[in-house]
């Protein structure tokens, strides 16, 4: 709030100063046009107050740590993903986001896994210890970064449906994330140089997205896709 309060004080001081200097009896603002200007200033100040009153959690946060460190950590998480999954720590590892959780009850002991063309996500399967007739489907993403902005939470999960014993997995329709970032004006940049918070480059990290299935112990799986990884 400091900026809004100080800018408010600054404007009030300027206006008071001008008013004090004009000690004559006539009002300082004699014409309608300048009332517009005062109204405009009031709108700008209210906008400034509003900016600082907006909750921080409404925005995509930049990485708190060093940008290079964020990229390095993202790549590390990506590289260790299989080990993390084997240890059953996908839900507890920082930087791995769960973006889909669905459970399906199946009456049969065979599962026909049908992956749509163009599916980029990997499918990992873990057999449970029991035959509870339930397929647990989870979708996880590792960090996706544009520069030092983590937009993983915006990654759309695949579309999954069960018809009989056929589990269909389809990618979401192709989409574009239109992010917006505010940059300080060019004059400020002259005196601060290009600060890391405002410099943009081409570093983009597209993480991995995996579909993790936990199936009953005795379930047999057939699929149209040969690249299915069994964790056990």
């Amino acid at each position: 709030m400091s900026l809004s309060i100080l800018s408010l004080i600054l404007l009030v001081v300027i206006l008071l100063g001008i008013l004090l200097m004009t000690k004559n009896k006539k009002p300082f603002v004699p014409n309608l046009r300048n009332y517009f200007f005062l109204f405009y200033c009031a709108v700008l100040l209210l906008a400034t107050l509003a900016v600082y009153a907006l909750p921080d959690q409404d925005f995509i946060q930049r990485a708190k740590n060093n940008p290079d460190q964020a990229i390095s950590e993202a790549r590390q998480t990506e590289a260790n993903l299989f080990e993390i999954a084997k240890q059953g720590n996908l839900d507890h590892t920082k930087g791995i986001y769960l973006n889909l959780s669905q459970d399906f009850i199946v009456g049969e002991d065979r599962l026909n896994l049908k992956l749509a063309n163009g599916m980029e996500s990997e499918v990992w399967i873990e057999r449970k210890d029991s035959n509870d007739g339930k397929i647990e489907v989870r979708s996880y993403v590792t960090p996706h970064l544009v520069e030092h902005v983590d937009f993983s939470a915006k990654i759309r999960p695949p579309v999954i449906s069960l018809e009989g014993n056929k589990l269909q997995i389809q990618p979401p329709a192709r989409y574009t994330l239109d992010l917006k970032t505010f940059k300080d004006n060019f004059i400020s940049a002259q005196f601060r140089g290009s600060s890391p918070a405002e410099s943009f480059g081409n570093t983009t990290v597209f993480g991995r997205q995996i579909i993790y299935l936990r199936i009953p112990a005795g379930m047999k799986v057939s699929s149209n896709q040969p690249y299915i990884i069994y964790l056990d």
Partner: protein
């Protein structure tokens, strides 16, 4: 022999107040509103994509608002050298020095108010985009500027506007001396930019590449003072009244 003693600064101050009251900021408001409209679509973008999706990052800044404010300040400064404005001075107790001093005071006020509105217009842009677009796609970054950053920006814009007012005032005065200057000066600038590019760039960089705000302020004030003094000297050499 006069019964009342006059002080040039007192007269200049009265003239300054008179001019300030007569000044309209409507043009500034309209220009900044247009600039805000242009700025809302962003000044740059970068993006990347993989098979399933693309990510675009739109860079939003209030640069255009500041540039438009500079144009407005330049136009105002040129306008104050015109016959219409100078004739008004003759309706008051005035001389060339008090007229120029009051104009300089007015330029300082214009610079402060122009800088205040143009830097705060960036805040209005943020609020407009927050409420009119999906705010969950806004990156926090420079959304909430620290006060020091804002003040630095405000102060620097004041200095730039002062410099531009000084340049506009001298330009206007030269045109009043001879209309040909309206073509000669811009042509000289274009010629300098093309023919003597290094010299031209050095002149520009003298201000735009100065990383110290205090040194920049010194350069801007000194240059503006020279420009305004030159304008006064030219004004002094003009006919009494045309």
């Amino acid at each position: 022999m006069y019964s009342a003693k006059t002080n040039v600064f007192e007269i200049a101050f009265k003239q300054y107040l008179y001019k300030l009251k007569a000044l309209s900021f409507l043009g500034l408001i309209i220009l900044q509103a247009i600039a805000l409209l242009f700025s809302s679509s962003g000044l740059g973008m970068y993006g990347s994509g993989n098979g399933g999706f693309s990510v675009h990052v739109k860079i939003i800044t209030s640069d255009i608002v500041i540039v438009f404010t500079m144009v407005w300040a330049f136009a105002i400064a040129v306008g104050y050298t015109k016959k219409y404005h100078k004739d008004i001075d003759f309706t008051l107790v005035s001389n060339r020095l008090s007229s120029s001093l009051s104009d300089s005071g007015l330029f300082l006020t214009i610079s402060i108010l122009g800088a205040l509105t143009s830097t705060l217009a960036g805040m209005l842009l943020r609020v407009i985009l927050y409420f009119t677009t999906d705010h969950s796609l806004i990156i926090s970054g420079a959304f909430k500027l620290p006060f020091l950053n804002w003040f630095q920006s405000f102060f620097a814009v004041v200095m730039y506007l002062l410099l531009i007012c000084g340049a506009g005032y001298l330009f206007g005065m030269l045109i009043e001396v001879n209309r040909l200057f309206a073509f000669i000066i811009p042509a000289s600038f274009f010629g300098l930019a093309r023919g003597q590019n290094d010299l031209f760039l050095s002149m520009i960089r003298f201000f735009t590449k100065e990383p110290s705000l205090l040194l920049f302020a010194g350069k801007a004030i000194f240059t503006a003072a020279i420009l305004l003094t030159l304008s006064l000297l030219i004004f002094n050499r003009m006919e009494v009244r045309r």
